[in-house]
């Protein structure tokens, strides 16, 4: 792969997704794209760079971005954020929204759906507190492929074992050939759509948003722009949950960190 082709590909991916790929990851770009060339319908990476760069082929650019971004996710990832939702966030929202009796959540880089569906499982099991309440979850992601998979809600045996207990598996899934499919009731509780964090449509307002394990890929100005855009879609006092390696500190004052719980923030 030539240096010029690499530079074009890096630039297109960064403009589309915000993901800054360091030059020392160049070997990764080649390793991921070269096997895909036949499927993408181009002969060489130089031709590929030309199509997505000079010729502006949006469909190819999307496929390349997909191939170069990680969709790695799992059920109840890291555990703690979901405990915080149950123990801190939900009780607070129940108080604030007692008049409307409605909760709205957003999973802002939902990948193949494990994050919004984990939240749906958590809420569905919280029957005592949520009786008589309406709750809705929106999941969005840049990747059309990931969003389509999330809508399908069909997971391999490997995927359903990552973070999901056997008790929850038998309660909320049915077996579908070799795969497992989330039951209709929970699928219906989660709306899924494509959305780019760099150019968000009007959404919300939400009571809480999970924006996890995506900011890590952005440079600081992009992080700031995304966090401010997320804040604008939250209710005043609404909650933000970030990934373990992410923070708003030093980036934006749109959020205040929770004094006791790392990873939990509130719209200022």
């Amino acid at each position: 792969m030539t240096a010029a082709a690499l530079a074009t590909i890096r630039d297109v991916v960064q403009r589309r997704s915000g993901i800054a790929m360091a030059a020392d990851k160049d070997y990764l770009v080649a390793a991921r794209l070269e096997p895909l060339l036949p499927q993408l319908g181009v002969a060489t990476t130089v031709a590929l760079a030309d199509r997505i760069g000079r010729q502006n082929d949006a469909r190819l650019a999307m496929l390349v971005t997909d191939a170069l971004t990680t969709n790695e996710t799992l059920w109840f990832r890291d555990g703690r954020p979901f405990d915080l939702l149950r123990d801190v966030v939900v009780p607070d929202i129940l108080e604030r929204r007692a008049a409307e009796r409605e909760l709205r959540f957003w999973s802002a880089a939902c990948s193949t759906g494990q994050e919004p569906y984990s939240l749906a499982i958590l809420l569905a099991e919280d029957t005592a507190r949520l009786a008589g309440w309406r709750w809705r979850i929106l999941g969005t992601d840049l990747s059309a492929t990931a969003v389509a998979r999330a809508r399908e809600a069909r997971y391999s045996q490997f995927e359903v074992q990552r973070g999901l207990s056997a008790h929850r598996l038998i309660k909320h899934f049915s077996k579908d050939g070799e795969a497992w499919r989330l039951k209709e009731a929970l699928r219906a509780a989660v709306e899924l759509r494509e959305a780019n964090l760099l150019s968000l449509p009007p959404l919300g307002p939400f009571d809480a948003v999970m924006c996890r394990n995506v900011l890590i890929y952005f440079d600081v100005p992009t992080k700031r722009a995304v966090l401010d855009a997320v804040a604008a879609r939250l209710r005043p006092g609404g909650w933000l949950l970030l990934g373990a390696a992410e923070t708003t500190l030093g980036i934006t004052s749109a959020f205040t960190p929770h004094p006791e719980h790392r990873g939990l923030y509130r719209r200022a």
Partner: protein, 122 residues
Amino acid sequence: MPQCLVVDDSAVMRRIARSMLEKLGFDCTEAADGAQAVEAVRQHAPDVILLDWEMPVLDGFGALTALRAEPWGRAPRIVMCTTLSDMERIVAALEAGADEYVMKPYDQEILADKLRAVGVLD
């Protein structure tokens, strides 16, 4: 060091499980069928048992039922670990007192996660 009893009639499967468990900080003993497993539990009182289903002499489900009928002071955690992956089996195992269920093939991450879920790993 937490103790794990690895029960599988395949020596290869036992070795794979054992190497993952040792990396996770477990001390392992092995049994090749359900009857040996029940005996080993009486002797070693492990913290957790990784229990295959299809085995000669006494199968994993038989061992599970037998172990749950014992008058334990401190019952071991039991994680079924089998290629059987139909809903009916999983339900039956959980109802008979299994704490978790791993479907083969699995990897160390899945195993660690299940061991955490049953409270024998931090």
